[in-house]
């Protein structure tokens, strides 16, 4: 038994004893060609290390760029039938009722409310009665819910770029009569979607 813990274990080949390693294979050979043969004749080593620094730099720059350009204020859905005009000198969109005009119908926050066909046929300005009633009710509801605050009176018009001026003026004036004097036109910021 004491044999297991000594270097003298020549009689027991299964003894599990940790001992100092002996001589390495070919270690004593000083010849260069022998070592070249061992390493694989100067062929590319099988163990390749990929340099990830450049890749991480690229990812970091992308993350920083996306974070700086992130802006949630313009994320407002516009109806597919409406193509907004372009403008440079525009401000950020604010939270307000959205009135969309696509040349045929008028929508308030996505729900169809009125038609503009009659105004185009008549060729003169007219008040859109259904739109007027809806906006007026909304204003009264807002005032009932928040009696202490002054009413901002802001409405945003999403109007297709080919809608004639007569329709634009009619919707504009209807909103003003309904108590929304601060009318804004939604546009696409030049350079963002051209």
């Amino acid at each position: 038994m004491s044999d297991r813990f000594t270097n003298n274990h020549e009689h027991n080949p299964h003894a599990h004893v940790i001992h100092a390693p002996g001589r390495r294979l070919l270690n004593s050979v000083k010849l260069k060609f022998v070592w070249s043969k061992v390493k694989g004749h100067s062929v590319r080593a099988a163990n390749a290390n990929l340099n990830l620094t450049a890749y991480i730099d690229f990812l970091l720059v992308t993350v920083i760029f996306l974070l700086t350009t992130f802006n949630a204020s313009g994320q407002i859905s516009v109806d597919e039938s409406i193509k907004l005009p372009f403008a440079e000198n525009a401000e950020d969109v604010i939270d307000a009722p959205m009135v969309a005009v696509n040349g045929v119908s008028v929508y308030v926050d996505g729900d169809p409310v009125d038609s503009t066909r009659a105004i185009e046929d008549m060729g003169k300005m007219a008040k859109l009665d259904k739109l007027f009633v809806l906006l007026k009710n909304r204003r009264e509801n807002w005032k009932t819910l928040q009696p202490d605050k002054p009413f901002p009176g802001v409405v945003i018009l999403q109007i297709d770029e080919n809608v004639p001026a007569i329709v634009v003026k009619s919707v504009f004036q209807t909103a003003a009569y309904a108590g929304y004097p601060n009318v804004s036109f939604m546009v696409q910021k030049k350079g963002s979607g051209e």
Binding site: L52, A165, A176, Y177, Q188
Partner: protein, 184 residues
């Protein structure tokens, strides 16, 4: 794999430490994917207009008559823009700007008109002091069949000149004009 080589080699423990960068790259990739998905590529903005209906808000309050301010009237014609400064019914100045023809399918842009608006405001504008909170008024006169994109192009030119305005403690650059439509 990134590592830190601190030399050594003769010690008992290896001094060459490898930092596992895979979770870091995973995190970066997930962040890039999230930001790309939530990014807004077409940003919408707004152009301000004003539809203040003339007259006092409360009919019981007697309004002291004041001298009318100079107002810029912008008439969008077929071939030219006519800019008229009016004080009440009196015409103070009139300028005509030729209308450039824009190619079909291309968004109209009136860069020359924007320059004229700036010089007109510098000559005739009433509100130039940064402490002055009022803005010069512009009234747009247009043909009933004029497409909306042309109105917006004129508004874009109208809002191009800006001036300093004190808002509380900070000073901001704001457009010199505020527009409304003429009602006929």
């Amino acid at each position: 794999m990134g590592g830190v080589d601190v030399g050594g080699g003769s010690g008992k423990r290896a001094m060459n430490a490898d930092v596992n960068l895979i979770p870091f790259i995973d995190l970066l990739l997930v962040t890039v994917a999230f930001l790309l998905i939530t990014a807004v590529w077409v940003t919408n903005s707004r152009i301000n207009a004003n539809a203040q209906i003339p007259g006092p808000p409360n009919p019981e309050i007697v309004v002291v008559p004041q001298t009318p301010e100079k107002v810029l009237n912008v008439a969008i014609g077929a071939e030219e823009f006519v800019l008229t400064w009016k004080q009440g019914a009196v015409v103070a100045a009139e300028t005509k700007v030729p209308k450039p023809t824009s190619k079909s399918g291309e968004a109209p842009k009136y860069a020359d008109l924007a320059k004229v608006f700036e010089t007109e405001w510098k000559t005739h504008g009433s509100h130039k002091d940064p402490a002055d909170m009022k803005i010069d008024q512009a009234i747009i006169h247009s043909d009933n069949r004029l497409p909306f994109k042309e109105i917006v192009a004129v508004l874009d030119a109208l809002y191009s000149p800006k001036r300093e305005m004190k808002l509380g403690n900070k000073t901001e650059m704001l457009p010199v004009f505020n527009m409304t439509f003429s009602i006929r």
